[in-house]
Each structure stands twice: as C-alpha cells, then as structure tokens.
Symmetry: C2
Subunit: 193 residues, 2 copies
Amino acid sequence: MELLKERIRKEGKVVGSDGILKVDGFLNHQMDTALLRAIGEEVRARFEGVQVDRIVTIESSGIGIACFVAQACGDIPMVFAKKTRTRNISGDIYIGQVESFTQDRRPYNIFVSRDFIRPGEKVLIVDDFLAHGSAMSALIDIVQQAGAEVAGVAVVIEKTFQKGREIVRGKGVRVESLARISSMSEEDGVTFI
Amino acid sequence: MELLKERIRKEGKVVGSDGILKVDGFLNHQMDTALLRAIGEEVRARFEGVQVDRIVTIESSGIGIACFVAQACGDIPMVFAKKTRTRNISGDIYIGQVESFTQDRRPYNIFVSRDFIRPGEKVLIVDDFLAHGSAMSALIDIVQQAGAEVAGVAVVIEKTFQKGREIVRGKGVRVESLARISSMSEEDGVTFI
C-alpha cells in the first residue's frame, strides 16, 4: 500500500538498536482517520470474496484500525481483546496468553467475552504490527477456543525479519500485510520488500 | 440521541449496587461501527459552528468513538491519552493524574506526547462515560498544559447523579452528552432525563 509506505518513510522513526519503529504520528497515538479509512478499504480489498463475519483485534493500537476495517466491510461486528480483566467483562471469557518481547515483561493474558465470538463465525484478525507474532498467536487461540474460524490476519506493518508471519502461516492462516519491512536502522531508516 | 437510548434500554445491563452500566455489546468491548458513525455525526452536529481542530480522548474505550467523531469532523487529527508510558511515547510528554473510583485503585497517570497537542488549537474531548469526571479533568488539564483551548466535551453516556458535569462546567467547559441517565438499578434498569 504505497500511501502507507510513504507515510512510514516520511514520518516513521526507528529508535534504538532493537527494532522499535515509531509511527505514533498517524497510527498508534495520534491517528489519521483518512489514512485509517484507506487502510480499512485496502484490507477489505485484499480479502475480496472471502466471507468475514467479525473483526477481532487487541487494545489499544488495534482498535482504530479494526473500526475502519469493520466499517469498510459493511459495519460487521468488531471486538477487541482487553489486557486487563475489568468488571465490564466479568463473566464468561476466553483467555489468551501473550508472550512479551518488550521491556523484559512477563507473559500477560488477554480477555474476550464469550458473548462476542460465536461458534462457526469467520473472523478476520487485525492489528497494527506483526513482529514476533505473540499477540497474534493469542488472538488466533481465542478465536479457535470459541469454535470460530480465522478467515485471515491483516496487519498494517510487518517486520519480515522477525518470525511472526512464519508462526501465523504455521497455523494455516493467511496473512496480509499492507507494508512489509525487510530491514530498518536508526541510520538508514526503513527498507520495504 | 434516541437511537443510542434505545440500544442502552435494550442491551445495557446495570450490574451491582454501585452503578456499573455494562454496554459492552456495542460501545466498549464489542463495537457497532454503524452506531459509532451515527454518534460521530451527532457530536459534530451538537458542535455545529464551533471551531474544532483536534479530538482528544483516552484509551481504550474512547478510541473508537473519537475515531468516528474525527471522521465526521472531516478527518481532523485525533490523539488518545495512554495509561502506560511505553517507549512509543518516550520523549516530551504531558502528564495528567486521574483519580480512580473503580475497584479501589489508586490514582493513575495518563500521557500524551507533546507533539500531538499544539498551542492555540481548539480541542474537543471525547469519551464513552461522564460519571465522576476524573478522567475528563485529567484530559482537560493536559489540553491546558499544552496551551490549547478546550472547545468542549462530548460524552456518549452521562450519569447525571454523579458530579462529572458539575466539575467540567466548573472549569468553564461546555458539555454535550448523547444519553443522560438520571437513575439506574438492577431492578428497574435505566431512566433517562
């Protein structure tokens, strides 16, 4: 998606030697809804002809993207996994475990109410980044716990030098990434495939 | 907003004696983007003729609402305050303190990058609930720290039996609520003003 790559080239910042790409000017802190709407349309086009009944994502960075994908798909239901188990989602829930690679944190759990993924649904999972694939694995696990089917995974930015795609493909799930980064550094910036 | 009140009457659930209204079927866990789009249009209409340069909200429940308000306002920039200080927002930040009334938690800080609220901007603050007004107070404080001006506050659901509106009005800020609840209980459900 050329429009997206241009924004990443222009505004993205590579920070540190361990692969942080800051896109907080348009994707995951400040948000550009015109770009998000275009992202939603692009995801819908990539999955043209595929039945999708529901969008699933994870808070917080996935929410805006998932909203616009759901809108592009004709306002199908969207649900986001929560990282804390608030009283709002007390009751019957699905739990997924996410391995964490940032700031040496421990694995954490994510939660989705059982009311909001139904057996047999075709689910498209959406997120901002695909890197190690740990959040994505937990989301796929939750969808499968629900007896629903993962119609595919759509991410805005993929770090192809990490193993996320391999992990998701290993589960037999289709992956679509709107911008695929083959390498990045503070000095040279971002290179796309 | 009658459409919204109908959804709250039909799907909202009052839980416990201390005033939890669950609207997780359409607003803050599962999300109905058709309703959110209508909410965005309604907020824009309420602030017709008022200059708004930017939408500010707080993760996670505010993000979807703010996205659709930003879209309705012609894709103006939107930024959400974060509850954790990740590396994505390292650098210069505004910090607001939120008093917490839920689950006996301590006050917590919220963070917005200084890059994403500019001096002189007219800011519309958006959130799902207005109850005690604590998150809203912290957001107003952050906007004012930035030298920007609060054009108004728009919330989807107001609990008028708590002091949120009074606190916000006390700061000289206009409040628009799309559904105003005067009382609620597990037995009798929700009553609107």
